[in-house]
Amino acid sequence: MFAEVTLSLLGGFLTTVKLFILTLVFALPLGLFISFGSMSKIKVINIPINFLIWIVRGTPLLLQLLIIYYGPGIILKNNVWGAGDGGRFIAALVAFVINYACYFSVIYRGGIQAIPVGQYEAGEVLGMTKGQIFRKIVLLQVIKRIVPPISNEIITLVKDTSLARVIAVYEVIWAGQAYIKSAGIIWPLFYTGAFYLIFSALLTWLFHYIEKRLSYFR
């Protein structure tokens, strides 16, 4: 029984991990664009971007999942997400990417604005281009500063993926909960906690390693 449950939960956890990784793949770079947009001096760019950040951070992710999944169907009378598991997974992914990109953008902005203006000026008087200054001087300093807050968000994301079950994405909690109905046992649901714990332990170790690798400068 234990082996059977473990296998079944692993199947659900695979979806969890897929959602987690794909969210990061899209949200980490998208967050950078959103952060540049939010810092833009051009009003038609920064006002809508900051409005989006306000909406996304000001409403529950659970609600955003429901709106993104059901919204298009209600408004356009057409399910843009496609039928079945695949469509629900993509809707969940879109919701997570938008949500996390907004949170990441604020962390990036903090990191970028914390770089002393003297670093940019030193690059400028040495005849470096804006791109060189960003890539060769600013970027690594920003990364060093944002690793701790980003790791917080990323570890939160591991557990937030469980919210996808509200639109019936078959992730690990769903798999565990299924045993309550089918076999009348609740321990598989509690057992899912172990999967999250192991995964976040790996991430904690990874971020610790990155921080250590960046500790050679201040």
């Binding site: 002393p116 008087v125 040495l126 005849g127 470096m128 281009t129 060769k136 201040r218």
Partner: protein
């Protein structure tokens, strides 16, 4: 012909006139000290020369190349500005070394990028020159140290080497010892003095009056955005013509407690 010719520079920040009608010139191999109280416009003047600020009016010329002309309406491209500003080097009050690079890497970064941009791959030459500069600063044994492992005086000497690596026509110093403990200012001043002895063309904004007097061929006293007094060190320090200059210098010779 003068190496640098600055004429009628004016700069406003909003309604505040920071620089008014600034004109001076200097010859190759000369050292120019700029003194004056905080807020007199000294730093803004250096920043204008280094294209960190754009003057509202006036003209800046190096030999026969016009770097800035307030009359001209065409805006310089980023590329043109980068080329022009390399006539000047700037040493900052707060060093501004790049923390993720070693002393040697700090010096080599800009020359390497420049060589890449022009498809010259003379990295060996760049490294040799950087090491030579570090030796000149008395820091050969510190080449692999990161900035946080160096004292303020050592950091500032690396910053001077970094500015020299691009071989500017004129090296500018913006209060190079103001952020240092008194016991560390000596080592930085000594290095600048050596540069002056080797006829490096320099503009030095400083609050170290004795140093400004000893190192310079020419001294400018700025007050309230204008050049109030200009001349040889003896003229400005020993025989100032304005009451305001005397008052300013008196504050340094008899510090009031």
């Amino acid at each position: 012909m003068a190496l640098l010719e600055v004429s009628n520079i004016q700069k406003n920040f909003g309604d505040t006139e920071v620089l008014r009608d600034i004109s001076f010139s200097m010859e190759k191999g000369q050292a120019l000290s700029i003194i004056g109280s905080s807020g007199s416009g000294k730093t803004t003047l250096l920043r204008c020369l280094n294209f960190l600020e754009k003057p509202d009016k006036g003209r800046i010329q190096i030999r026969d190349e016009v770097l800035f002309d307030g009359e001209r309406t065409k805006r310089d491209s980023e590329e043109e500005i980068r080329k022009k500003r390399l006539h000047f080097g700037l040493v900052f009050q707060s060093f501004n070394l790049f923390p993720q690079y070693t002393a040697l890497e700090n010096i080599m970064l800009a020359p390497k990028l420049d060589a890449q941009a022009h498809h010259r791959a003379d990295n060996g030459e760049i490294e040799a020159r950087a090491k030579e500069l570090l030796a000149q600063m008395g820091l050969s044994n510190r080449k692999d140290n990161y900035p946080h492992q160096l004292s303020g005086g050592q950091q500032q000497r690396v910053a001077i080497a970094r500015a020299l690596a691009l071989q500017p026509d004129i090296l500018c110093f913006d209060e190079p010892t103001s952020a240092l403990d008194p016991e560390l200012t000596g080592e930085v001043l000594r290095v600048i003095r050596e540069l002056a002895d080797n006829h490096t063309t320099m503009i030095i904004v400083t609050h170290e009056m004795k140093f400004a007097h000893d190192v310079a061929d020419q001294v400018i006293f700025m007050d309230n955005g204008i050049i109030l007094e200009k001349g040889s060190p003896d003229e400005v320090f020993e025989h100032p013509t304005h009451e305001r200059t005397k008052q300013f210098l008196a504050g340094y010779t008899n510090p009031q407690q």
